[in-house]
Amino acid sequence: MSDLLSAALLVIGGIFMLLAGVGVLRMPDLFMRMQAATKAATLGAGCMLLAVAVHFGELTVVTRALLVTAFVFMTAPVAAHMIARAAYSVGTPLWEGTIADELQSARAPDTQEN
């Protein structure tokens, strides 16, 4: 049973990873690449770590695996946010299909100063 569960988690994790890889390759602008890739990769890594926890079942391994998972889930969005924020602030171009940019309008006055 636990073998089946961890095998499933592993495969799901792998699929997420693959999605991340294809996403980062195919998406048209940086922000969507991040949308597609960093989350998928985080979920993928999370699934695989859970698979470890399920597979071994010992307390030490489980706590460790869960701690790493927690760590990954805690840090990955921060990292993504940091890159996105930085990328946006230096004017990384958005995809031409982007339909709204409310941050641009909010910032307009002070970009003049810079």
Binding site: F16, L19, V22, G23, R26, M27, P28, D29, F31, M32, M34, Q35, A36, K39, A40, T42, L43, A53, G57, E58, L59, T60, V62, F73, M74, A76, P77, V78, A80, H81, A84, R85, Y88, S89, L94, W95, G97, T98, I99, A100, D101, E102, L103, Q104, A106
Partner: protein, 159 residues
């Protein structure tokens, strides 16, 4: 919170007492001690802990569902040749106030495929979010979804 810690400590004590440190045994210990604490509540004095538990569980279910849903949406776009995205950066006015609230909210938004916390206004009132699917180009609807969906539930759990 102390009730939660108590719960945890009792679970560990259970594991020690039974001598098996496995996940399953710990889970059993946690469940048993949760029940004990729940019943002992009148003797020990009230705690938000027991009220929070269902909220947390409900939130977790909601978030998981969101995660799966949006993942499929993004995955579909990744693997198909045509792009169906209607991306945009929208401003979400925040009800969340403390550092912890804002951070948790922003992180959960980011973690969900399709939304990405881009920046926080200097007065901490507005969170700018990059959204991948603004359905029908309706920015207001997207904003509402975030506020009514995730922000409300996060604040529910935290407050």
């Amino acid at each position: 919170m102390s009730a939660f810690l108590w719960n945890l400590a009792m679970a560990v004590a259970w594991a020690v007492a039974t001598g098996t440190f496995t996940l399953a045994n710990l889970a059993v210990g946690f469940g048993l001690s949760f029940l004990i604490l729940l019943f002992a509540q009148p003797f020990l004095g009230g705690s938000g802990y027991f009220a929070k538990v269902p909220q947390v569980i409900r939130f977790a279910m909601f978030y998981l569902w969101q995660l799966i849903l949006s993942n499929f949406r993004v995955a579909y776009d990744v693997v198909t040749l045509t792009h169906h995205m209607r991306p945009g950066v929208i401003a979400v006015p925040l009800d969340a106030q403390t550092d912890a609230e804002i951070t948790l909210l922003a992180n959960l938004i980011t973690l969900t495929p399709g939304t990405l916390s881009l920046d926080l206004s200097p007065d901490r009132r507005v969170l700018y979010v990059h959204v991948m699917y603004i359905d029908n180009g309706d920015v207001e609807e997207a904003r509402r979804q975030i506020k009514a969906g995730i922000e409300r539930r996060v604040l529910e759990v935290l407050r």
